[in-house]
């Protein structure tokens, strides 16, 4: 942040040498309370939204997670019963397993595709913006019910995939209805959205100074060593950013699994993502207390994974100097 020149009234008295940040703040505004007030005024809608729709609900859901609540009568205190019940709930364990498989396969697949295509598109490809748009388009569409419907048909018994397989003489199964493959169709759908992280990779690649490559080339470095010694290390912050973003997003996938499985996470719970099960308990059977406990476990899982991500980042993310 640059220091702002301040109006003459700003520093009538000489201040003792305080910490730089504090002094800067003091000097840059006419007077404390008035300055605060204008800031808070601009933030007023955000404050109200935070209180009503974020902080309030977080606290309420923590409270509800210790109760039995079906909307019909006031919440009834249960202590840790919901959490205990979760330990013994086989469908919950199943949904956690499905979610972990989904997240840990689909995110790396998506990011590797994104990085590979970004590298292909990076330097001097004619028609870059055309390719970028074509690859990016699915990211905008994939969240829609329309595409979920399309997917259900593509991977259905008589769908596009099996029609193409039939031309090669192979008879396919109904992929969306097969317990071993149904989750795979969702992973493919997520991979289809590699365009969004690819755009971020492309922007990151553009920030690497061209002179690095020229210097390396003069020193006789080949394309492989230039990739591993220049491109990849300098790109690690972007890889990290994409990883954190996509992990959090993948944990929250809902629409596609819901629509493709007809709302039940089938066949035999093979696509029962955690969010689907949460919806079923919360809004199918209005078991709001249990759903709140589930929501808190989801929050804890995402928080721990993100924390681990940041912890391990020190080992592999290169921030230069």
């Amino acid at each position: 942040m640059s220091n702002r020149p301040t109006p003459a009234i700003a520093s009538p008295e000489r201040e003792p040498p305080l910490a730089r940040g504090r002094r800067r703040r003091r000097r840059s505004s006419p007077s404390g309370p008035a300055r605060d007030r204008i800031g808070y005024l601009f933030l007023a809608p955000w404050f109200a939204g935070m209180a009503l729709f974020t902080v309030g609900p977080i606290l309420a859901s923590l409270y509800l997670s210790f109760t039995e609540y079906t909307l019909l009568k006031p919440p009834e205190w249960l202590g840790l019963d919901n959490y205990r019940q979760m330990l013994a709930d086989p469908r919950l364990h199943k949904s956690l397993g499905v979610t972990f498989v989904y997240v840990s396969v689909s995110v790396p697949v998506q990011l590797v595709l994104a990085l590979a295509l970004a590298l292909l598109l990076n330097r001097g490809v004619r028609g870059l913006s055309f390719y970028r748009s074509v690859y990016y388009l699915p990211s905008l569409l994939a969240g829609s019910v329309s595409v979920a419907i399309l997917w259900r048909q593509i991977f259905g018994k008589d769908g596009l995939v099996n029609q193409l397989l039939a031309m090669a003489g192979i008879e396919g199964v109904s992929w969306v209805a097969h317990p071993d493959f149904a989750l795979g169709t969702l992973i493919v759908l997520n991979a289809w959205t590699f365009g969004a992280p690819m755009v971020i990779f492309l922007a990151g690649l553009r920030q690497i100074p061209h002179s690095y490559y020229e210097a390396a080339e003069v020193d006789g470095a080949g394309p492989v060593s230039r990739f591993f010694r220049i491109t990849l290390p300098l790109l690690t912050p972007i890889i990290f950013f994409n990883l954190v973003l996509q992990l959090i997003g993948a944990f929250q996938s809902f629409t596609q699994a819901f629509v493709i499985s007809g709302g039940r996470g089938g066949p035999s719970d093979a696509t029962l993502l955690y969010t689907l099960y949460l919806y079923e308990r919360g809004f199918g059977s209005f078991d709001m207390g249990y759903a709140s406990a589930m929501a808190w476990v989801l929050l804890a899982v995402i928080a721990v994974l993100t924390g681990l991500n940041f912890l391990f980042a020190k080992r592999w993310v290169f921030y230069g100097n």
């Binding site: 390719y131 905008l140 569409l141």
Partner: protein, 284 residues
């Protein structure tokens, strides 16, 4: 200089296969969409016999019949979706730009703390909030109204757009608003007369993303709008599929395409803003 020749020649010879690869891959990516478009103009019985994307005959019957297949004509649901999406755009532009101006340009006690809190909400799964929000809205009698989908937008609930606009405003030269300060301009005038006009690219990006995400949104519309009279396009489509989808794929595809058209249109019109918006959020 001597080494310059070798790699660049190699690069040129690599150019053609690279384009073949990129175009081929692009076709694979788009094939499902093209197939859906072509299927929507085929009679349902031929969809499953023909993987080609060139329809042998052009039959718009699926569009005509699909339009009237639900209890209301399809434009009824499109309109419901559009009302919510347009209000969401207005809400996000107004409330997020106000908050972004405060974070990017004003100094006040607790700014860094609030900014960190705002960033933290970016990572918050909606599922943690949805149950108590539902309880709150049902006590306010807002279930089966558009209010749960619209009011949060006017209260800067989408932190992503605050972040995007903060990043953008920080990149604007501060000389302009400093000059205006010295001329005695208040912060609201600076916000409205200087920052907002200069932020049009960021506002356009936010508007496009808000529209597309709201238009696609299914989860919260499924939860807050259970009355079929209020159904939006995605909720209606899903009920269409569950109801008679297996026998009317052609009609279902036709309506699915109609549902994607606005996104496609905005993508064509504003792709520069969309890709730049995505890219800038990655950087300070």
């Amino acid at each position: 200089m001597a080494t310059e020749l070798g790699p660049s020649r190699r690069r040129r010879s690599w150019r053609l296969p690279k384009h073949v690869l990129l175009i081929g891959f692009g076709l694979v990516m788009l094939y499902p969409l093209l197939w859906m478009v072509s299927s929507s103009v085929k009679p349902t019985e031929t969809i499953f016999r023909d993987p080609s994307i060139w329809p042998t005959e052009l039959d718009l019957g699926n569009y005509v019949e699909g339009w009237e297949a639900l209890s209301h004509p399809f434009h009824y649901y499109l309109w419901n979706s559009a009302v919510i999406a347009i209000l969401a755009v207005a809400g996000n532009l107004l409330s997020c730009s106000l908050a972004a101006y405060a974070f990017a340009r004003l100094k006040f006690r607790g700014r860094n703390l609030f900014f960190a809190a705002m960033l933290a909400t970016l990572m918050l799964p909606i599922h943690v909030l949805i149950v108590p929000q539902y309880v709150l809205f049902s006590q306010l009698d807002w279930i089966n109204t558009n209010l749960p989908l619209v009011v949060p937008k006017f209260l800067a609930h989408d932190a992503f757009f605050i972040f995007l606009m903060v990043q953008f405003i920080r990149g604007l030269p501060s000389e302009l608003d400093e000059a205006a300060r010295i001329d005695g301009c208040g912060h609201f005038r600076i916000y409205w007369r200087i920052i907002i006009p200069l932020s049009v690219p960021a506002l356009a990006t936010s508007a496009l993303f808000t529209f597309i995400w709201t238009w696609n949104d299914f989860f919260s519309q499924l939860i807050f709008l259970t009355d079929p009279e209020l159904w939006t396009m995605p909720v209606a489509l899903r009920s269409f599929m569950d109801g008679q989808g297996e026998t009317a794929w052609g009609e279902l595809f036709a309506m699915s395409i109609v549902g994607l058209m606005p996104i496609f249109g905005f993508f064509l019109a504003g792709q520069r803003y969309l890709t730049q918006g995505i890219a800038t959020t990655g950087f300070k």
